[in-house]
């Protein structure tokens, strides 16, 4: 798989990262280098090998169904550029 300029622009748009047009070829090239490395990994024969998801033999940690958090709207909103009446206020989005 090879990433071209248009594909790089699409990925940047999905990630909401602004990339100037003249920076796109270099970005596409970086993607291709990364993908090339992954391709190389694909050469390893992993037939019958369970995928490893963790290097430690841990079980997914569980929590009890108890309310232990929340009730701090001021803190939650404190970094918001705009908040009104307890809500985050964001530029109008209409579907």
């Amino acid at each position: 798989m090879s990433i071209d300029k248009a594909q790089a622009a699409h990925v940047a748009k999905l990630a909401r990262i602004k990339v100037e047009d003249d920076a796109l070829p270099a970005l596409a090239e970086e993607f291709n280098t990364i993908l090339g490395f992954i391709e190389q990994l694909n050469e390893v024969d992993i037939e019958g090998v369970e995928p490893m998801v963790s290097v430690t033999p841990m079980r997914l940690k569980r929590r009890e169904d108890v309310v232990t958090d929340g009730q701090m709207p001021d803190k939650v909103l404190s970094n918001a550029p705009d908040a009104r009446e307890g809500f985050f206020a964001v530029p109008k989005v209409v579907e």
């Binding site: 997914l60 169904d65 939650v76 307890g86 206020a89 964001v90 109008k92």
Partner: protein
């Protein structure tokens, strides 16, 4: 186990301008898990709290916050899966579904695309006595809900409340086995009923705790059967997905509209675009959400913050062992044990609380009579005042007393209705009402005979007519009942009238 037998319903046929069409429908139902805390945080799930008060830093996606799964939410999803006779996957995993929206602070939703917790199951959708559609469930996965955007509080900004962010959802995905708008609504109703029996989702559609995305396509009669034989989706039409509906009525109306729209396109020689649409209840139509199409590249990948979810078969078996009796079983048992019709059994088992109330009324008494009284008198009366069974002013024990009084011939059906009315409005015990108000049925033959004699003596002309035409004897029965204030046993009166008139 008891089972009733069913025939599948006929698919809905929509006549087009050129020929007939049929519908093929599949649903994705999002059901909010009944739990105290959220799926990955310790914030409350309580509805209607002050904005942004039920929010932990995990939900607000503050940097460095890590999700820790709520075990009860997992148990609830497993319970739901078992209730839908589904395969439980002992290993499942969480993935990130990436998209940007103001009510999704993480920039991704934690969901389960590749390895869902629950696999294939099925649900029987009742369409009337003896008629039901078996709808296959493809999977159920767990995911986080998003927050709530409010667009109409200010003309220039959108308000965002994260209280719902991170609440656990079960997404229940059906196969395209549903063949009409009514079936689609009934399917959602049946899922809701089962989950309410299980206690895994409260099913409150108004609060958005149960919402559905509906996939609709149309095909020519015979195409669906070809799909069933071959499993080949391409013989079916192109589908459109109508997003996020939270009312049975809207689901039906949206499907109806969407089917007609697609038929019109196809008969005009056009092609249906596969797309996501929104239903506008004010206009009664669906419209395209094309603006969001590019956002549909979700770039799913395994969530690196969460290890796979591994559960043990013993744990699943414990949950399975503690499942309550489910609607289909309860209905079949009511038909078998109480000798009631399937229709009555459906009414009584619609809500688990109603069924429990009925069983308390019927315990040790005439089940059929109890069913009639609960359905016709109690439900009728509750409905008139828009009350639920929990708000019933008459208890199951009190209604049971009325059944006993009728069974013992202490009161007639007519008087029983009066007693019910008094008990309903005053909360007094039926047995006491009958005693105090002197409503006890007169079975004393002497007293009835005296009353009959009186009526006969006063109406010699009627006696002559009745003797010529025995059908007219009923008039005497009516007069005697009237004279005794309805308290005389009608059967006894009838017999005595017959004898006295020499019929």
């Amino acid at each position: 186990m008891l089972d009733l037998t069913y025939e599948p319903p006929k698919p809905k046929v929509i006549p087009g301008a050129k020929h007939d069409w049929e519908l093929v429908i599949g649903l994705e139902v999002h059901a909010q898990v009944a739990s105290k805390a959220k799926l990955f945080s310790g914030a409350s799930t309580q509805f209607g709290a002050e904005p942004n008060s039920n929010v932990a830093f995990v939900d607000a996606a503050m940097p460095g916050m890590l999700p820790v799964i709520n075990e009860v939410c997992v148990a609830q999803a497993v319970r739901t899966g078992l209730g839908l006779k589904a395969k439980i996957n002992l290993t499942s995993a969480f993935d990130r579904k990436n998209y940007f929206y103001p009510d999704l602070p993480q920039g991704y939703q934690i969901s389960q695309l590749y390895h869902p917790l629950v696999g294939e199951g099925e649900v029987l959708v009742d369409m009337g006595p003896g008629i039901a559609r078996r709808v296959r469930i493809e999977r159920i996965h767990m995911e986080q809900d998003a927050g709530k955007s409010i667009h109409d509080m200010d003309p220039n900004v959108t308000f965002v409340d994260l209280n719902r962010t991170g609440v656990a959802l079960m997404e229940i995905v059906s196969r395209p086995d549903i063949r009409g708008p009514e079936e689609a609504a009934a399917y959602v109703g049946k899922l809701r009923q089962i989950m309410r029996y299980l206690g895994t989702c409260d099913g409150n559609m108004q609060n958005g705790n149960l919402r559905a995305d509906v996939n609709v396509s149309v095909c020519r009669p015979g195409d669906y059967e070809r799909y069933q034989e071959t499993g080949d989706h391409s013989v079916l039409g192109t589908r459109c997905e109508i997003k996020n509906m939270n009312s049975m009525r809207f689901i039906q109306a949206a499907i109806d509209y969407e089917a007609r729209r697609q038929i019109q396109i196809l008969e005009g020689g056009g092609t249906v675009d596969q797309e996501t649409r929104l239903y506008d209840p004010d206009r009664g139509e669906t419209r395209s959400m094309r603006s969001k199409e590019e956002a549909h590249d979700y770039r799913y990948f395994p969530d690196p913050d969460l290890l796979p979810l591994e559960i043990e078969q013993d744990w699943v078996d414990d949950i399975a062992g503690a499942l309550p009796e489910l609607p289909d079983q309860k209905k079949a048992r009511f038909v078998a044990d109480y000798g009631m019709t399937e229709y009555d059994a459906s009414v009584l088992t619609a809500e688990v609380e109603n069924a429990a109330f009925f069983e308390e009324v019927a315990r040790g008494r005439d089940g059929k009579l109890a069913a009639n009284w609960v359905i016709n008198e109690l439900f009728g009366r509750l409905k008139k005042e828009d009350h639920s069974i929990a708000e019933s002013p008459i208890s199951a024990a009190q209604l049971g007393q009325i059944i006993e009084l009728i069974q013992a011939d202490a009161i007639s059906g007519k008087i029983a209705k009066e007693v019910f009315e008094i008990a309903y409005t005053s909360g007094r015990d039926p047995a006491e009402i009958v005693e105090t108000e002197g409503l006890k049925q007169v079975t004393d033959t002497g007293a009835i005979e005296a009353a009959v004699d009186e009526v006969i003596a006063a109406n010699p002309a009627q006696v002559e007519k009745a003797q010529a035409n025995p059908k007219l004897a009923g008039w005497f029965v009516g007069q005697v009942m009237k004279a005794t204030g309805g308290k005389a046993n009608p059967k006894a009166v009838n017999e005595i009238v017959q004898t006295k008139l020499g019929l």
